[in-house]
C-alpha cells in the first residue's frame, strides 16, 4: 500500500496542473489587495479585507480544486486500472484509496501555497491568528470530506470484480448493438463484426 501511495503522490507532484493551480490561487489572492487596497471592495463595506479575501479563497477553491483533483491523479481508467490491479496484486479499492490520499495531499498543497498571502491579509486586517487557523482548517476539512465521499463511492464500486463485471456487460451491450444493427439494415455495414473485448485490447 505504501508503494502505491508513494507512486500516486509522485505522479501528482509531477503534474503541471498542481503547480499551475497553486500559482493561480496564490496569484489571484495576492492581486486582490493590490487592486482593491487594504479596505477591500468598498461596496462590501463592513467586512474586512481578510473576510473578503477568504470569500475569494472559497470561490477559487470551488473552481480550482475539483479541476486540480481531476488533473493530478494518475491516468489509469477502466481496463488500465484492472491491469494495474493485476500487476500489483492490489485490490482496485485500495488503489483508489491511495489515489484519493494523493489527491488530498495535492489539494492541501494548493491551499497551503496561498497561505502567505492569506496571512498577509490577516495581518493587514488585524484578525486573530486563531481565526485564520480555524478558517483554513474548515476549508481543508470541507474538501477532505468531499473527496472522502467521492472516494468511498468509487471504492465501493471498485469492489465489484471489474474484469468480470465489465466483460459481461460489455459483451451484452455489444451483442444488443449487433442485433439491432442487423435488424435495422441488411447492408454490408450491418454485417461488420462486433468489437469484442479481445479485439479492443481488453486484457
Amino acid at each position: 500500500m505504501r508503494a502505491v501511495v508513494l507512486r500516486e503522490a509522485l505522479v501528482a507532484a509531477r503534474r503541471p496542473a498542481l503547480v499551475g493551480a497553486a500559482i493561480v490561487s496564490a496569484g489571484l489572492l495576492a492581486l486582490f489587495p493590490i487592486v482593491w487596497g487594504v479596505r477591500g471592495i468598498p461596496t462590501l463595506g463592513g467586512i474586512s479585507l481578510y473576510d473578503q479575501q477568504f470569500r475569494l479563497e472559497w470561490i477559487l477553491a470551488l473552481v480550482l480544486l475539483p479541476w486540480t483533483a481531476a488533473r493530478v491523479i494518475a491516468n489509469e481508467r477502466g481496463d488500465d486500472f484492472v491491469g494495474l490491479s493485476a500487476l500489483t496484486a492490489i485490490q482496485p479499492s485500495r488503489l483508489l484509496l491511495a489515489r484519493l490520499l494523493a489527491a488530498t495531499i495535492a489539494l492541501v498543497a494548493v491551499i497551503a501555497g496561498a497561505l502567505p498571502v492569506v496571512i498577509s491579509a490577516q495581518q493587514m486586517s488585524v484578525v486573530a491568528a486563531s481565526r485564520l487557523v480555524a478558517d483554513q482548517l474548515a476549508l481543508e476539512r470541507w474538501w477532505a470530506v468531499a473527496l472522502a465521499a467521492a472516494g468511498a463511492g468509487l471504492a465501493v464500486v471498485s469492489m465489484v470484480p471489474w474484469p468480470h463485471f465489465v466483460e459481461r456487460h460489455y459483451s451484452r451491450a455489444a451483442g444488443t448493438l449487433h442485433a439491432a444493427a442487423r435488424a435495422s439494415t441488411r447492408s454490408p455495414a450491418g454485417e461488420q463484426p462486433v468489437r469484442t473485448p479481445s479485439s479492443v485490447g481488453w486484457p
Binding site: A3, R7, N75, D80, T88, A89, P163, G175, P197
Partner: protein, 223 residues
C-alpha cells in the same frame, strides 16, 4: 501448482477455448504455441484472472483462481497485452513501484530493467511503443511472482536481451517459479513442455528431452 480442467471460454458465440485440461508442477514450464486467434492469448488471460471462464476450473497454488481472483493474483504476474501509461514516471520508478507493491526489494527492479535492456532513468513516455512490451516483461520479472505468464512478451526484445531473459527464466525455474510462455513458436531451451493449441483445443503436447534442454541452455548461456 497450476491445474486447469475443462476450461471453456466463449466470446460472442465463438468458442475461444473448448475444454482445455492442463497441469503444471512447481518449477515447471510450458510453452503454449499455435496460430493467432486459436485460443493462446485467451488461455493466458484466463490464467492471469483477467477474464472469467465460461466453464471449467483453474486452481493456482491451491486457490480457486475463478472465485478467489485477488488472492490468486498475488501468485501471478502477467506480461502481455496490458498497457503501461507513462504518468511522467521513469523506468526505475515504475519498476520499483511494482516491486514495492509486491514486497520485493528495489534491487529486483534494477535487475529487471537491465535484463530487458531498458535504461533505468529513461522516462517511460520516451520509450517507443514497440519497446513498451519490454517494460511489461520487466515489471513481471520485478514482481517476483511464483507464476510468470508471458504472452508474446519476447516480441520487443533484441537477441542479447532475449538471451539474458531466457537465462534468468531458466534460473527462476530452478528456484521453483512456474513459467507459461505463449508464442507463435516455442522458445528453445526455456520450457520443458510444448502445448499446441488449435481451435481452442490442445492439439498436441510434447516434452522436450533433457538432452535437448541441456543443449539449448548451453547455447543460450554461450550466446
Amino acid at each position: 501448482m497450476i491445474t486447469i480442467s475443462g476450461l471453456t471460454k466463449t466470446i460472442e458465440h465463438r468458442t475461444a477455448l473448448a475444454g482445455v485440461d492442463l497441469s503444471i508442477d512447481r518449477g515447471g514450464s510450458v510453452a503454449v504455441s499455435g496460430p493467432d486467434r486459436e485460443g493462446r492469448s485467451t488461455l493466458m488471460q484466463l490464467l492471469a484472472t483477467l477474464i472469467r471462464p465460461t466453464s471449467g476450473t483453474i486452481v493456482i497454488g491451491g486457490l480457486d483462481a475463478v472465485a478467489d481472483v485477488y488472492r490468486a493474483r498475488r501468485l501471478l504476474a502477467y506480461a502481455g497485452a496490458t498497457r503501461i501509461l507513462p504518468n511522467r514516471l521513469r523506468v526505475d520508478e515504475y519498476l520499483r513501484f511494482v516491486a514495492g507493491a509486491r514486497h520485493q526489494p528495489s534491487a529486483a527492479a534494477d535487475v529487471a530493467a537491465d535484463l530487458v535492456g531498458l535504461k533505468r532513468n529513461a522516462p517511460i513516455e520516451a520509450i517507443a511503443d514497440e519497446a513498451r512490451g519490454r517494460l511489461t516483461l520487466a515489471a513481471a520479472i520485478a514482481s517476483g511472482a511464483a507464476v510468470l505468464l508471458l504472452d508474446q512478451a519476447f516480441d520487443g526484445l533484441d537477441a542479447s536481451a532475449r538471451d539474458r531473459v531466457c537465462e534468468w527464466l531458466v534460473a527462476a525455474r530452478h528456484r521453483g517459479t512456474v513459467i507459461v510462455v505463449a508464442e507463435h513458436e516455442p522458445v528453445a531451451g526455456l520450457c520443458d513442455r510444448n502445448v499446441v493449441l488449435r481451435e481452442g483445443r490442445i492439439l498436441e503436447t510434447s516434452v522436450e528431452s533433457p538432452l535437448d534442454q541441456a543443449a539449448a541452455t548451453r547455447e543460450l548461456v554461450r550466446a
